[in-house]
Subunit: 272 residues, 2 copies
Amino acid sequence: MSDYSKLCIHTITTKPWDIWTAIEKYQAAGVGGITVWRQWLDGQDIEQVGQAIRAAGIEIVSLCRGGFFPASEQSDLDAAIADNELAIREAAALGAPMIVLVCGAVPGQSLGTSREQIIAGIRAVLPLAEQHGIKLAIEPLHPLYADDRSAINTMETANDVCDEINHPLVGIAADVYHIWWDPNLERELARTAAADRLFAFHICDWRTPTTDLLNDRGLMGEGCIDLSGIRQMVESHGFDGFHEVEVFSDRWWSKDQDEYLAAIQEAWRAYW
Amino acid sequence: MSDYSKLCIHTITTKPWDIWTAIEKYQAAGVGGITVWRQWLDGQDIEQVGQAIRAAGIEIVSLCRGGFFPASEQSDLDAAIADNELAIREAAALGAPMIVLVCGAVPGQSLGTSREQIIAGIRAVLPLAEQHGIKLAIEPLHPLYADDRSAINTMETANDVCDEINHPLVGIAADVYHIWWDPNLERELARTAAADRLFAFHICDWRTPTTDLLNDRGLMGEGCIDLSGIRQMVESHGFDGFHEVEVFSDRWWSKDQDEYLAAIQEAWRAYW
């Protein structure tokens, strides 16, 4: 029997499946962990979903996603903080130990200003995160998304922001899609690990050519990312958490999802 | 009369126009400079093209493009060097003082290996560049293009490579599209200037949403790039060369190119 104990799948990876189908299918496949996207909780009793996941023997790795703190209007800044507080309460109800933050950016606003708003936003929600013991994982996004998704685009900047906030509940979610190209990756992963803040590790692949800026990711092995090299770096620094498959793919979403899950597991076996 | 003396247009910007039409139209519009893409010289008498450009009172800023050094086979490495030597001869025939290098990358080959091949390739063609006095400008490309277009994705890496080669003919072409998001931009532009290697400055804009990874650039003002901020940085370090409009845009290419040239000039007036 292959070992899927460290395999975590994001619910968005198998987007056509609702939360109940995902739980059932992941359990039947022996998948060890799940990261739940908030949309999958819409209209659900969140505590009941958490209980069902645990009853299926699946570990809840994180709730995805909070963030999007920057805005040009005060009312929007306030709304972002309120939404992140809601996410913290949802994570607590679900029994998720962590929230992944896609930090946000506003086209035309300087990235420096956005980063200040991100830091202020995280600080504002930290008391509630402390109360529930929920970790907040900043996910640096590829510079491709610097216009409207995140002003934190490298591991270096994520580390800088974490240094500034300096709180044990604030760390980093490292996703190979966003960081694979970075010449400073080894240095910054070491820095992340030394600060005990490598909270999550996401895997997928970068396809050539990539035909869509959002939804054309590949499964591990379908692209050019040196997955074994990055995995080695991460594990050499003591990371022993889940390796989370987070793939946005119109191509895969259009296929039979049972076959897709089998393909994910095949890619996992080659990866693992 | 508006001042277009520092406005340079890349022939690919007005892709539907052949070289003779471009020369005629740019001259009539008072455009000060031209960067000629090599495809525009196919089947032409290159010296004659150069004479026509000079006779039109337009300055030849550079020949675009050389590079693409990395390869997995020795024969392809050799072919790349031969092609770059050809580009140097073409630049000399045209009367262009500089070649822009899109340095290249091979999907699945480590970016470190590709960078070593780039450095070796540039060193191999330097004797011919010296003979003709042609500058070689490394253009760092956005990390979005790290899979198959360039293993040099930040100003920092471009500076590192230039430091390693350490030759007065090897410098950097800074294109806002590729570098606008970089938190280390100010530091690395200062480093570039201090080493007297800021050879070229390309402008355009980053649209939100960007719908194509290659051919959806915007004219200055159509996107989120802080053009005046970057221009200020560049000029504060003494750059007084051309500001080169390099826009790949299916949207603009599909329009009447006379109207497009007028739009470029309007965007220039707002920029300048």
